[in-house]
Symmetry: C2
Subunit: 343 residues, 2 copies
DNA sequence: TCGATTCATGCAAGCCTTTACATTGAACGC
DNA sequence: GCGTTCAATGTAAAGGCTTGCATGAATCGA
């Protein structure tokens, strides 16, 4: 057995007794090569254990069939379902996806985007619209089709497939208010780093305003997304005055953290305080009582995003902007406020 | 503003009035270039918005500073914490990581590994030892340092950093048995696709044998990892005879699914049936009662794996095999079996 | 002041594929 | 039997970067 440091196209061509061009064609356009030749080539390929050098291929063809997805975090399941559907759809169309995460840091996001582009991503999936305009300029200059998801905002010029975070959260807030709550707290993601979180805050405020409540009474606690953070957020908002009777959370992970903390403190949900979430992860139904939350069609969103990008990259079909519907799911953590607390 | 389709090294070199070699050096070995020149180059780089073509760079240098991680799934948080620590450690050493998932399908794993190697991964992180030996041959032939994690088995020849799944699960089973349980069921991952799941099964059997119970009485239900699957697994094992008094699960996600189902059926945990998990995810503490489970030092494991790989790739320090300790964490879901059920 | 070092830089080959274009040979129509 | 097509294959350039080697300038020691 000879020492065989990474066989190249050339090695294959020699072994098969053809030119490198033919090998390349046999691999990429099997029908543009005679049956017999193809077989000879394939045999050589397997015999040698050849696998094409990605960099070289990318350089020569100016195409990678790779799509980059830049998400804020992999640490919780928030993006998992959507991403998985995205990946599956794209795989079906012959694309591979590269995932990068940013920890919600704008500068890391920039690095990740540049890195993905340098790696030859043919297209990009981004979460939310808001980011340094320079990035969009860069992407346009590099001619990388970019699709925004997890958000829908018709006033934005870029194509997107997502939902209206503000409207979605407003609908949930409407339910909370309808239940009789007036002292509402919100445990939210960092609005400055996260336009979805920001939109959700506005959603709650919208609902309050519509109901004749003063939006400035909304007690907002901003934090990063996580179960532990939800627990700490619970402490923070429960200590503030007036004590809220309903705590809305802009993510399920925050909500279950809050619920955990409530139990630790002997505060019962929803009797003593109502809690709502956002996302409708599986998580929402393993807690008790099951979490009232906003359903988001993650899988559908991922699938459609994948399809749009695939079409754009193969047919050139331009990507449009499509809105997906969300819906408040009433389960066990939302109930009317206790009486006697009314001022 | 001229139309500037992706500036190259050459463009930069012209603008800076130096050769491409100098630009390359200015970028990669800043101290091997005169201060003034470097500044001129850097200015040109930013003016042009240059960013190096990854494929070309990889091809020329035969190095990518990229490490691939192939994990079974991103769908649940099982690998998230470990992976994040891995990524952070490696980033600190100047490496980028590429994550690919396999859905526990051996053939997908092969594809992913090949793809990562073709993409030029300088090193690889794999979960568990067990896979087609051909893969290891391939990796050796391609000269890609590979580290196994999430498992520790001194009988395996490959370097690894992980824990002994069998011993870890045995320790948990010991607690269950010590509590008085004899009718034990196990909701497990697919042992044929997952050597960790297999080892955990053996761990329970070991404990039973040690306690004088017949290991063949262990009621095993194999499924894929997921909350929903845990719920279905609960149904399955509770319907079998004899009805178990303790249900061990080889993952927390399975356990919380089982707990959810128990509540839906009005079966209380741990009064009617005990349930244990494995992993000690945050999830384990948001359910009620909090889940008795096996603590696994995910973050530590990821960090060490990252360090080992980084060392190997920079210094050439060979990667060893290191074992990490796990520990049963007794919380609320394990209690003695109800009396009267004893046959 | 002059040869020997050292430092900064340039030259050009090489990395592995794809692909436009050229070539070959066979099949075909007349 | 001959010119024409067409399918199959080959040739060679291009793609963007790194790096061994060569070169020239500056520095140093005596």
């Amino acid at each position: 057995m000879s020492n065989n440091p990474t066989p190249t196209l050339y090695d294959v061509s020699e072994k098969a007794g053809v030119s490198t061009a033919t090998v390349s064609r046999a691999l990429n356009f099997p029908d543009r090569v005679a049956e017999k030749t193809r077989k000879r080539v394939m045999d050589a390929v397997t015999a040698l254990g050849y696998s094409p050098n990605f960099g070289a291929r990318a350089m020569a063809s100016r195409r990678t069939n790779t799509i980059g997805a830049v998400i804020p975090t992999m640490a919780n399941a928030m993006f998992a379902r959507g991403l998985q559907a995205f990946e599956e759809e794209l795989r079906r169309h012959g694309f591979t996806i590269l995932v990068a995460s940013t920890s919600y840091q704008p500068n890391i996001e920039i690095d990740q985007i540049r890195s993905l582009v340098a790696r030859g991503a043919d297209g990009l999936l981004l979460i939310g619209h808001h980011r340094d305009p320079e990035i969009y300029d860069f992407l346009k200059a590099q001619d990388v089709p970019t699709l925004v998801t997890w958000a829908y905002d018709p006033s934005e010029p870029r194509p997107s497939v997502g939902f209206d975070n503000r409207v979605a959260m407003k609908a949930m807030a409407n339910e909370v208010i309808k239940m009789g709550h007036t002292k509402i707290a919100l445990i939210s993601g960092e609005s400055s780093l996260n336009d979805r979180a920001d939109a959700r805050i506005h959603g709650v405020e919208d609902a309050m305003a519509d109901a004749g409540l003063d939006p400035s009474d909304l007690n907002i606690h901003e934090t990063t997304f996580g179960i532990e953070e939800g627990a700490r957020g619970f402490d923070a908002v429960m200590m503030s005055m007036p004590r809220p009777t309903a705590i809305m959370c802009s993510a399920d992970v925050l909500a279950v953290g809050a619920m955990r903390r409530a139990r630790e403190l002997g505060i019962s949900v929803p009797e003593d305080v109502s809690i709502t979430g956002f996302d409708d992860l599986e998580l929402a139904q393993v807690v008790h009582p099951p979490l009232t939350t906003v359903f988001v069609p993650h899988a559908e969103m991922g699938r459609r995003a994948g399809l749009a990008l695939a079409r754009q990259l193969t047919d050139g079909t331009p990507m449009g902007t499509t809105e997906l519907a969300t819906q408040p799911i009433l389960r066990g953590t939302l109930a009317p406020p206790k009486d006697g607390t009314s001022d």
